[in-house]
Every structure is written in C-alpha cells, then in structure tokens.
Symmetry: C2
Subunit: 638 residues, 2 copies
C-alpha cells in the first residue's frame, strides 16, 4: 500500500474522488455486513473527505500524539463513513472493512468505540459525542493548552437531545474556539422527517443564541465546505464554530436520495452494485492530510469571569492527606473535598468538575486550591459527566461531583463512559433519607443499583473521614467508572488516620469468636449498626459488625466467613431502595459462595419518603439502630 | 376565614400587599422549619402575586376541575413561595405553613409533591417542571381541547439543563400557545452567579431561537408583569410564551438582596424579624383570582405537518386482542405494537409517545391507527418521559417507548415520576446482547436494575407474543411506573392465545415431579432455558423451567417451591449485567423465603460486548442453552 502524503494541499478534484470512495465504501461495508447505515454516511461524505484531506491535522501513525486534532462522530451510526475514512487514511484495510465490519470479535463495531486507536469515545447513543467533544476541547484550551482542534460530526436528529444544548452552552461559556461542529442536516431521521427538517435558519438561530459562530454551507459543495473549514480552523476568536451543512441523505445514489424508509438499512447486493456504479465504481485511494506542527503548551488562559478566582491569594495546599480523629464528627462529603485538595497537590493531572453544588459536595475546596483545574458545569449533569469523559481522553484524572440523586440525570452518559473505557470518578453526595427535610427529590435511593449495574464499575460508600480519604486515593488509581457515595450529616470517625481500605475489602468493626449475628452497613447505616450492636449487647446478644465500604466488588470472603461464624444469620441495612444496592451485593456474594442455609434480613427504604429530620426518616424507613437490633433479635431468637 | 372573591379584578395595590405577604410567609415558613429557600422565593413573589390575583383561572375548591389552569413550580425549591400562595388562596392554614413545612409526616414537603391536591407533579430535580408542563399543555391542546393554560415557574439556574431546551423545542413544534413560562432570572445560583447572569438578551435569543414568544419585564414591576401576563394569556397564536423577568434574589430584604451565599438558607430568627419588619409585617390576606369559565372540548386540531397522518385512509382497528399461534415466530416488540392498537380501540384514553424509533418499537402501529393520540417526541428521551408524565396528569393512560438502552437517558425523570405518583407505562425494545450487530451502545444491559430500583415499579419481561399482549393490558391497569422489556428478534410462541399472566406470577413452562434442577429465564433466555432443558433431557437430567415474565414483583412462591422441589438447585440466566436484574430479583426472593441451602448459579453478561450475531453474543456471554445446560449439569453432578 502506498500512502500519498502530499507536500502541497490535496486539490478538490481528488477530494471529490475521495468523497465518492467514502460513499462506495460505506455502501460496500454495510452491504457486506448485512446491517448498518449507508445513507446516513453518504450525506456526510463530502464533509469528511474535505476534512480528512485538507483540514484535519492528524498523524495517523501516532494517534496518541498530543498535538493531533480530534475527530468524534457524534452520529455514531455513520460508522461506515468513519471506517471508510480510516481505510482512506491507510490504517484499516479493505479486507477489514469488508469482512470485519459489525462481525463478532472484530474491532469495526456497529457504532465506534475506542477499541480503535483513532476513536476517542464510544458513540451511538445520540447527543453524546458533542458533549464529550466539549470535554476534549476544554482540555485543549485550559489544560493541555495546545493548538489542536476538536471536530465533531453531528446528525440533525440528535440536535433534539437536550445534551447538545448543554454542550453548546458550555462551549460558548468556556470560549472553545477549538471546537468545530459539522452539522449534517440531511432532513431525515429514522422514521421520517426531523422536527426542523431543512429549516437551516432555525438551526442557525438556535446555535447562535447559544453562542456559536455558524457558517452555513451546501454540504455537497466541496469548495464551500473547504472555505468554511478554513475559516473555522482560524486560531483567533472565542466562539465555537458550527459548519451547518444542508445535505441529502443517501447522496450519490439517486434511487434512495432524500427518500423515507432508508434509515439504517444496507442496500441489497443488486442495489449496492447500482449504487457503486453510479458513484463511479470502487476506488482505493489512500491519502493523508496535513500533520500537526509540534507545539508547546501555551500560557494558562483566564477562566470565564463569573467564577471568582483566588489565584493570587491562596496558600499552597498540603500534599499530606487530611487526618481526622477517631470519634471526631466529620461529614464524608467534607472529607471528600479535603481529600481532593491533598490529592491535587500530589498529582497535577487531577481535574475536578461539579454541577453547581460544589459548596454542598465540597468540591469547592479543590476549586479554591486549584481554580485552573476546576470546571464549573452549572446545572447540567449530562455535560458534567461528558466533560469528565472528554477531559479523561487527554489523560487527566477527572473527579465529577453532584448530589447523588442527580447522577440519575446522566445515567446514559455513565453507561456510555463504560463503553468508552473511560476512567470516570463520580462522587454523589446527600445519599438516602438521611438528608432529611429536603424530601425525596433530593434523596438518592437508586444510585447504588444504577452504579453497580454499570460494566466494570467500582462502588464505594465510606462511613467516616479516614475511609473517605483512603477511598478517594483509591479512586484516583482505579480504572473504569468508580463511584463514591457520600453522606450529608457528620458522624464520628471510626478509624485512625492512615488506616488502609483496600479495594474489594471490608472492615470487621466489631467482632468476637462468640458472635451470634452479623450486621452489615455502610455509610449512615454502619453507624446505626454499631448502635444496634450496643443495644443487642444489652440484651446479651453479641453481634459482628461489618463496614461494607466497598459495595462493588464486595468482600465476599469476609461476608461468607462472618455468616458462617454467626449461624447463617445476617442483617443488612441500607439507606437505599431494596433493589440492587448493598443488600443485593451481599446477597449475590453469599449465594455465589453457597454452602450454608442463610437467615438473611434486608432492611432498606421500602416506602416513599417525605420530609423530616434524618433521624425521623431513618426510623420511619426501618433502617435505624432500633430496627436493626430488632431484626437481629428476631433472627437470633428464631 | 373570609375569602375575598372579587367580582372585579383585584387592583395592583392589593397585589403589592399580597406580594409582600408572600415574601413574609416565605421567610416565616423557612425560618420556622430551619431550612428551605426564602431568597429564591422572594425573587418570584411579584410574579406569583400577579398571577394568583389576576390571571390564574383556578377553582381552589375543585382542584381537579378539567378547565382549571395549571401551575407548576419547575424551581421546586421555591416551595415556601408556593405554599405561601396556597395560604393566600385559603387552602393552607397559617398553622400548617408554620408548623407543617418540611416536618415529618406533613404534606408541605421540602419540594412540592402531589401529596397536595393543587400540585400536578413533583419537582425539585431542576429542569423537569417545564418538560412536565409541556405534557400537560399537549393534553390541553390536543386531547382535552380545553382552554386552560399551563403556567410554569422556572428558575434561571435550571435553564442550563438540556431538558429545558427539549421542552422549548417540543412546545414550539406542537404550537403550545397554552404554555406560559415565568422565567425568574435572579442571577444567582446555589454557589454563585449562573452562567448567563442577568444577560437577558442572551436568554431571549435562545428562547426565540427555540420558537418561543418572549416578553421581557422587570420582575418587580407589577404593572409590567400584569401586562405581559395578559398578553401571554391571549388565546390566539401558535407559540409558547416566556415572561422573561429580571428579578433580584432575596428581593424585599436589603440585607440579602442580590447577595452571594444566601441560597437555600433560612434566615435566623433575628434576621427573619428584620426581614418581616422591612416587608411591612405579617399579613393574612386571603383572596382568589378569576375562576375558569365552563368549556366544552374544541375540535381536534391538526398535528404538525411533518408527521404524516393517515386519518382519511385507516381501517377501523379491532378491539380484539391480537392472537398468535403456539410455535409462530413473533418479536415481542411487534406484539407490543399489535397490543397497543387493540387496547387503543377499547380505551380512548390510551395515548402513545415514542422517541423517533416507532418503526423499531412498533409504536408506529398505534400512530397509524390513532394519529390523534400519538405524540412523536423525536430523539429527546427526557421529554418523552416528561410529556408522558404531564399527559398522565390529565388522566390519560400514556405508553412511552424507545430502545430500552435509551431510557437510561431519562432515569431522573422516571425517578421523579415515581415521586409524582404518576402512572407511567414505559416499553423498552432491543434489550441485551441479543440485538447483535449494532453493538453495546444500543444494548440495554442495565435497564432491569434501573427500573427495579424505582419505588413502586412493576417490571415485565415477556418471552412471546401472547404474554406480551396480556402484559400490555396489565400495564394499562397498573398504577405507578411499569416497564415492559421487549426483544428485537422473533421467537416461537409458547402460550395459546388468551392465556392469563397475572401480575406477580410466573409460568412453569416445563415441570415434572422428578425435576432435578430449576432453570429460570425471561425473554430470550427463556427460549435458551427451554433448549437447555432439551439438552439436559438428552443427558437424563430433568429440569424445571420457569418463565419469570414478572421481574418485579417476582413470583417468590413458585420460585421457592421449585427450588425446594429441585434440591435447592437453580440456574438463572439473563441478558443483562449481573447486578440488579432478574438474577437479583430471584436471589432476593429466595433469600427472603429462606429455609433451605441454595445452589444458585447466575448466568449474565459479565464482559463488555461488541458486535456480532445475536446467537454468537448469547454464546459469548455464556447465557445460551449450552451454557445453561452446562451450569445445570454442574449443579446436579455436584
């Protein structure tokens, strides 16, 4: 294979040839696979041919080069086009394109994932690639401070997702002139016309209203596209740019152009043959566009002015982890903030984001210490997680926080983060009924279930300051999605400073050889379990108490041993709905261990809470010390 | 208590008095509770005083009157203001306001919920009240066809949520001139200035870009507010209206006006005293504004033209449920569409919504049969669920569908729907690795965990056409959040037409008195379990097979009996991640039943899938017939 690497700019005739090739290859790959989205690929082929040859600064031999531009297909279903681009760049072979696409065990998946080295993030759930791209562009402008650009191909259907507008809002707020959106307005969604159709003026008004510079083009006029891309890539300016392209779905094959009912359907072989013929036949052009110039990080730009900065006044934070006394009352959310500051002092790749509640999650402590590594995402939890994902693409260790309940807003982004193989560290505060007066809308009661079900996730739930500090450090070193659940109220410290909390471990907080029942808690219910053990001791019942600070992976060995030692009797209490949380984790582990009859009592929040004090609600839910003691007494007596 | 019900319009001097009262009562209620958001209430008091007295058409004695206007506090944290409005209308007493707010067992919760008869939907997770209001307004315009208006109070912080823009998009698309947004732009969020601050022009550009009519006012100028509300409430027009109000947080109490660090904090008693004094002291005005005129439903308006309608050509759908033969291959998603049509013929309050994938979920069948009761939400899953919630407020039975994976996008809305006590019927298609080539972004592998963890939810997972039809009917009669998981591929019918599938039940599909092991499946894994039983029979092992079509509430009795009959041996296979799904439901039920040692093998999707055929991926995940048979063989042999 000979790769053409032109010294001069590739001319538009060659670009036109390449565009035809991309269409042909999109047809061939999807027909060969028997599924896929050729028509959605064909509408954007001219945009991509122009980009690849003349504007994308990318070293295809070194996809991890820091100065490379980034290319994200937010419309992930146009994967035939993306893979055809890879073939044109000479990094994917014709054989792989025709025999690997959408096949078992192959890397050219139905929607792009970072299994491929040229893919930053998994897409395919619409409206996510652009928010992710905002994260990459944030890293480019504020952290890497390198002149790379982030090019994002969006479909028009996905512009109906609110997350797209969260992305535009943040892109303009953070002045991401390094972000360029290619909006492929082909009018047709999956089952008919999109809500705005070809009303490009309305799209333009919306995008401009959200602070973007909009360049409207005929998406099949190569010269116009080229001119717009050149303008978009100019380094000056403070606005993100949209190249708003009027395109035709299925462009290049008249049988399907602009026709309904051709979304997500490969052409049958006879149609594919006609399409290829109309497009001028099979080509095997391999070429590459400009490579990035070497560059050094520029100066640190100012963050937008509505975020007060205290760069001039701050003291140098200590690298030593914060320490709390045993018995000292501290909220785990406060310990989270303290721990972040120390971690940030030791590791300058730690970056923190929050969803406008940093004074509640205590992420504000990090913001005060390192304003240049803190990004305020305002009340936009989808963008909060997506920005974390995008920043992580550039190798930073992101921590994102909001109320635990509001991570439900971003569940699709967390799920896709797992598919991206992203290392995301999420911290949710104000868990459970313990929060009290604010009521159920603010109470996370599904978060453990949600986070446990994410592939490869780690779920942590500390009960005191010392364990929180240790677990924040653990998160920094943990790949994949990790989640820390913190508590609103302050509770006494249980462990001396410096105590270790290994991943997959637990703590026997109270244990004798004569224990009659095992009590398992985490967070606030661990404190209730300890009080329950005291109550039971008054009744002459000795209880073993386990701090299950690691909900996933759960400490199956310690749990099974404890249950064996206590006659199969176990009470698990959690400030969470009964499904999928701590009780479920313990149940799964004990059932997998097998080997004994279990007497398992699971205390959880089984009714809809209202307002009240934390104590009232813990009692009402039946997860306080009295209820744990009663459940244990019943098991021991029975 | 004397209620002033003026024959004539209440004058603006009285409105000003009332506004002061609303502020005073917001201060008093939050100070008495020791928590709450007085300053966020005070910024909007003039808007609400004007609305209550002169524009909201509402019969406070009959909150369910169909012609009543609707009032939704999207900024639910301004609950002190809302409850002060209720006091002013004479439906909440001073005693309840001062001693009930945010207290245990009381109905004036920290954020409003429909525990109160004048509250339509729970709010408090920001950016949801407006999308819900779009649903109510859709019902008003297209279903009830009554002249009521939907007034939604939004805060400025929540305008950063993408869901707000999904709502504006749909409000303008569906020409909801009956929707009026009061945008309380007080500049300050929880921890500082919002991203747009007081840049009202930028808000205006965004809202106008999304098709709204925007009337900008000084939010403390009663005459200007009154004029804008009169204009907004004029019946003509096709646009939603925004009254974009520049306001001051904490307005009326100079110590806190427009100051940082006063979000979500009640005033200490001494400050509260000074605030009340500055506001002119305690008042106890009780008054009511205009009542709605009686009205009959108007003509059915045309739906927007981009959705093809087939009103003129459709045949009258049959009310008889669809029937499938045993052994006939049908996809459960297809049966869902068929069942909806028959249900719609029997019940004209059934309304269907879909997120631009109706040709995949088969909701399109309902659209073709009853276009006037179908709402296309395009690719905006948050608004899909919110619109369902809002339409359900008006007593319709909504069914909302998209790919099961994409309901993760709307998890916060589903969670809040449960707090609203809404009856939401959700149907997610394309579950699990079974979908094959499209890859992991399109595979629901967390949905069962997510839906089971919702309070009061019902989770259904049929394996054939007959059971799907029965379960769709069950959903129509089931309160709360119900979820139906459907499968992409077609599998043979297992049950004769008309078979019953009670809620909380299961089916013994294969059973003898000599069974050695229990196999549990649902959806595609039931078919695999049946094949496994055949394989095992070849080895001389008899297996009991249970169709666990009701994942929540699960049939604990049948499961426990089966496990007892088969020596404690059970294999559960599911096309879902191992956490929180079918296996977890079965495990929870068996542990709660207790009384025997269990030999429990749980087969689930434990690695990150890629593309492939459904068969390849079921085998790869270890959840196909061969793996189920091997697991059972191991248990029986062990």
């Amino acid at each position: 294979m000979t790769v053409i690497e032109p010294a001069a700019m590739i001319d538009l005739d060659t670009v036109a040839d390449l565009a035809a090739q991309l269409r042909v290859d999109s047809v061939r790959s999807s027909t060969s696979a028997g599924s896929g989205h050729p028509t959605s690929s064909m509408s954007a082929a001219d945009l991509l041919a122009t980009l690849l040859t003349r504007h994308l600064r990318y070293d295809w031999d070194e996809p991890r080069l820091p100065v490379n531009d980034h290319l994200i297909f937010s419309k992930g279903h146009a994967s035939p086009l993306l893979y055809s681009v890879f073939k044109a760049a000479g990094v994917v072979s014709e054989d792989e394109l025709l025999n690997g696409y959408r096949r078992f065990g192959q890397r050219l998946e139905g929607h792009p994932t970072p299994v491929l080295p040229w893919v930053d993030v998994a897409t395919g759930s619409l409206g996510q690639g652009l928010p992710d791209g905002v994260g990459v562009a944030l890293a480019g402008r504020y952290l890497d401070r390198l002149p790379y650009r982030v090019w994002v191909l969006c479909g028009d259907s996905e512009l109906a997702e609110g997350s797209i507008w969260e992305a535009f809002d943040k892109a303009s707020y953070y002045q991401l002139s390094n972000l360029i959106v290619l909006a492929d307005i082909n009018r047709l969604g999956q089952r008919g016309q999109t809500d705005l159709g070809w009303d490009l003026e309305q799209y333009q008004r919306r995008m401009q209203g959200f602070g973007a510079r909009v360049l409207t083009v005929d998406g099949h006029d190569l010269a116009a596209i080229d001119q717009a891309m050149a303008a978009a890539a100019s380094p000056s300016g403070t606005q993100p740019t949209v190249i708003l392209a009027r395109t035709v779905k299925g462009r290049g094959f008249t049988e399907v152009e602009n026709k309904d009912d051709w979304h997500g359907k490969p052409f049958p072989p006879d149609m594919a043959e006609r399409a290829i013929a109309e497009l001028g036949g099979i080509r095997n052009i391999v070429l590459r566009g400009p490579r990035p110039e070497p560059a050094e990080p520029g100066p640190v730009p100012d963050l937008p002015t509505t975020i007060p900065q205290q760069l001039g006044t701050r003291a140098e934070p200590s690298t030593a982890p914060p320490e709390y006394e045993v018995g000292e009352k501290v909220a785990t959310r406060k310990a989270y903030g303290d721990a972040l500051v120390a971690l940030g002092a030791r590791d300058d790749r730690v970056v923190v984001l929050d969803g406008e509640v940093s004074n509640s999650t205590y992420a504000t402590e990090f913001r005060q210490a390192y304003p240049e590594r803190y990004f305020e995402m305002f009340i936009a939890e989808q963008q909060l997680v997506a920005a974390s994902t995008g920043i992580a693409v550039r190798g930073y260790r992101t921590f994102a926080s909001t109320f635990a309940a509001f991570f439900t807003r971003a569940y699709d982004f967390i799920r896709m983060g797992a598919i991206s193989g992203a290392d995301l560290r999420l911290a949710g505060s104000h868990a459970g009924v313990e929060i009290g007066a604010d009521g159920p809308s603010q109470m996370a009661l599904e978060d453990l279930a949600m986070m446990r079900a994410v592939h490869g996730s780690t779920v942590l739930y500390p009960s005191d300051g010392t364990s929180t500090v240790a677990l924040v450090d653990t998160m920094a070193a943990t790949p994949g999605i990790s989640y820390l659940r913190t508590t609103r109220g302050s509770y006494p410290g249980l462990y001396p400073a410096g105590e270790k909390f290994p991943l997959g471990g637990s703590k026997l907080v109270r244990s004798t050889a004569q224990d009659q029942v095992t009590l398992v808690g985490a967070g606030v219910t661990l404190h209730e379990a300890l009080r329950a053990a005291d109550i039971l001791a008054g009744d002459g019942i000795t209880a073993r108490v386990i701090d299950c600070y690691c909900v996933k992976p759960v400490d199956a060995e310690t749990l099974a041993a404890a249950v064996t030692a206590t006659g199969g009797r176990i009470v698990v209490a959690e400030d969470h709905h009964p499904e999928g949380g701590l009780g479920s984790a313990v149940a799964d582990a004990l059932l997998a261990a097998g080997g004994q009859e279990l007497h398992f009592t699971h205390l959880a929040v089984r009714q809809m809470p209202g307002s009240g004090s934390g104590e009232e609600l813990l009692a009402w839910a039946g997860i306080d010390a009295d209820h744990i003691a009663a459940a244990a007494r019943h098991l021991v007596g029975g």
